[in-house]
């Protein structure tokens, strides 16, 4: 089998990105929405790693390191807000908290 080229990596990353985006837009459970956001970020990570592998040096990998850090913080913040919301309203489903139209 022919070794994978840059385009193979990008195809995977693009598909992953779209899956993540679909999850964010379509799912109603906010926990799953947060997971989908993680998938989107990871799609970008994959692209960065691929570019880094194909001739662009290590900078891309450093970038991925930062993205992982930020993503962790983002998840923590998101989950904290969800917990606070759950305490108040008893739900984490978008359709149940649609006082403001989402």
């Amino acid at each position: 089998m022919e070794p994978p080229g840059l385009n193979h990596w990008l195809v995977v990353s693009a598909m992953l990105f779209c899956i993540g985006a679909a999850g964010v837009v379509l799912r109603r459970n906010l926990l799953v929405v947060l997971m989908s956001l993680e998938i989107m970020l990871n799609a970008a990570n994959l692209a960065l790693v691929a570019f880094s592998r194909y001739g662009n040096g290590l900078d891309g990998q450093i970038f991925v390191f930062f993205v992982i850090t930020v993503a962790a913080a983002e998840v923590a913040v998101g989950l904290a807000i969800l917990v606070a919301l759950y305490r108040l309203c008893g739900t984490v489903r978008v359709s149940d908290i649609a006082t403001l139209k989402l």
Partner: protein, 482 residues
């Protein structure tokens, strides 16, 4: 190598953050009454120091690099820092009024606001994609928390969730764009990306990355078609966080947009000019017309913010220095007028108020000065001379007429008239006789009074005598467009 002296402003803000945190842990409760004022005073002093050059820039056209070229201080970056410091000070002062200095969580709220301000300061100086991303995220994460801050109010939490989901999605899109740009240019550094944009403008990877970058930033500045989160986030957020959204987050979006358009992707300017202008016109009209049916002041201000974003996008769509200068002036005018409206809102009702328009009824009777501040702010937003908003609008329309053409000028007039109408609706509400159930006005402290006076003075000064800031703005614009 990092030269700490170049980073002295940022380090001072970090120091301030730590001081507030430590103070919260150790200081006695009685001593906390003046914290908000003290922090704001420190920030304003820093802003003054930065405006005077901060000892970093020898002259207006100098460029000082540090952190291996990842951090640049030029006149533009310095102006961004001044702006960020002043805007943060405004937010801190608003916070010190709602819910009050001795309330739990006050110190943490201030720390987060300082963090958001710091993010904007670093953003103005970022020279590579990593610094760009990290500082933008610093702002975003602080703001997610600040929007959701009133944890006893479901509306605030919902707004926080919503803002987080949409904001994080925008970040992801932005990040993907960055990845593609990195792949096409082979480097994270802005300088090398610019060269790549000049030599490889036919690369689809580069263009797709650029487009995704613009889309992601469109979210941050609430440009059509990425604007829908704005009214909900504004409505749910407490007033100081709303101020942080519109006085820090949106300006930061425009700052980095200007950096990308006029510096990094300048070689592609023939390509981005049209889309930016169209987005600007659409944003302007949407903001101007969408607000017409609103009955809640916060949502209305969100639409007003969208319409102002449209104006600034139109300014940026003119690929000239005067376009950048117009955008910078407009930002300043927006800071002063919107700040005035927010201070008036803080006084018009206590924390937790919904700010429906009829809650404002009778304000003119109950507190003529608050009503006056509100009116002044609204007229500033509406662009009535001699307030700063007018000159900003003039500069933008000047750019539009000379660069974008008549259709865009018509859109500008249409959007402006629409937003003028709903500002008058707010004025109407504030001047009408009191209805039953209007909340009592909140006691206005000395620091808030001082803030009101300072903003009003600034609004008049900058409007009646733009030469007072024009030199700095022109230098900033020239530094950006080298």
């Amino acid at each position: 190598m990092i030269h700490p002296s170049v980073l002295r402003l940022e380090l001072a803000v970090v120091g301030l953050m730590l001081a507030v945190l430590l103070g919260d842990a150790f200081a006695r409760k009685a001593s906390r009454r003046y914290w908000g004022a003290a922090v704001a005073a420190a920030l304003l002093a820093l802003a003054g120091y930065a405006a005077a050059g901060a000892g970093i820039l020898p002259n207006a056209s100098a460029r000082v690099f540090t952190a291996e070229g990842g951090f640049l201080v030029d006149a533009f970056a310095l102006w961004v820092k001044v702006f960020a410091l002043v805007a943060t000070a405004v937010c801190v002062l608003l916070t010190s009024r709602t819910p009050g200095e001795d309330a739990p969580g006050f110190a943490e709220q201030v720390v987060l606001q300082l963090g958001v301000g710091l993010g904007m300061m670093v953003l103005g100086s970022a020279r590579d994609l990593i610094s760009f991303y990290v500082s933008l995220e610093l702002m975003a994460i602080g703001l997610y928390l600040l929007v959701a801050w009133r944890k006893e109010d479901p509306l605030s939490l919902e707004a926080g969730v919503k803002y987080l989901v949409y904001g994080a999605m925008a970040s992801a899109i932005l990040l993907y764009g960055m990845a593609l740009v990195y792949g096409a240019a082979g480097s994270l550094e802005f300088g090398i990306i610019r060269q790549a944009a000049a030599t490889r403008s036919d690369s689809i990877v580069l263009l797709a990355g650029f487009a995704l970058l613009l889309a992601g930033l469109g979210f941050k500045v609430s440009a059509v078609p990425f604007h829908w989160w704005t009214p909900d986030a504004y409505e749910g957020a407490p007033v100081p966080s709303m101020a942080a959204l519109s006085l820090l987050s949106k300006p930061a979006g425009f700052i980095i947009l200007a950096r990308l358009l006029f510096d990094v992707f300048w070689p592609l300017h023939a390509m981005w000019q049209g889309p930016v202008a169209w987005a600007g016109a659409a944003t302007l009209l949407w903001g101007g017309l969408g607000g017409l049916s609103q009955t809640n002041l916060k949502r209305l201000l969100a639409y007003s913010g969208i319409s102002h974003s449209g104006f600034m996008l139109l300014a940026l769509a003119s690929p000239t220095r005067s376009g950048v200068a117009a955008m910078l002036y407009y930002l300043l005018a927006y800071l002063l007028s919107a700040g005035l409206v927010f201070t008036a809102m803080c006084g018009a009702a206590g924390p937790g108020a919904r700010y429906d328009l009829r809650d404002l009824s009778g304000l003119g009777r109950k507190s003529p000065w608050l009503a006056g501040a509100l009116l002044l702010g609204l007229f500033g937003l509406g662009g009535i001379p001699p307030l700063a908003g007018f000159f900003g609008k003039l500069l933008v329309i000047r750019c539009v007429v000379s660069e974008s053409g008549w259709g865009f000028a018509a859109a500008a007039v249409g959007g402006a008239v629409g937003s003028l109408y709903y500002y008058l609706v707010v004025v109407k509400a504030a001047l009408s006789p009191e209805e039953n159930g209007a909340p009592p006005i909140a006691p206005v402290g000395r620091s808030l009074r001082a803030l009101t006076a300072a903003l009003a003075f600034g609004l008049l000064l900058v409007g009646a005598w733009p030469a007072s800031v024009w030199g700095a703005l022109r230098n900033a614009a020239e530094a950006l467009c080298q």
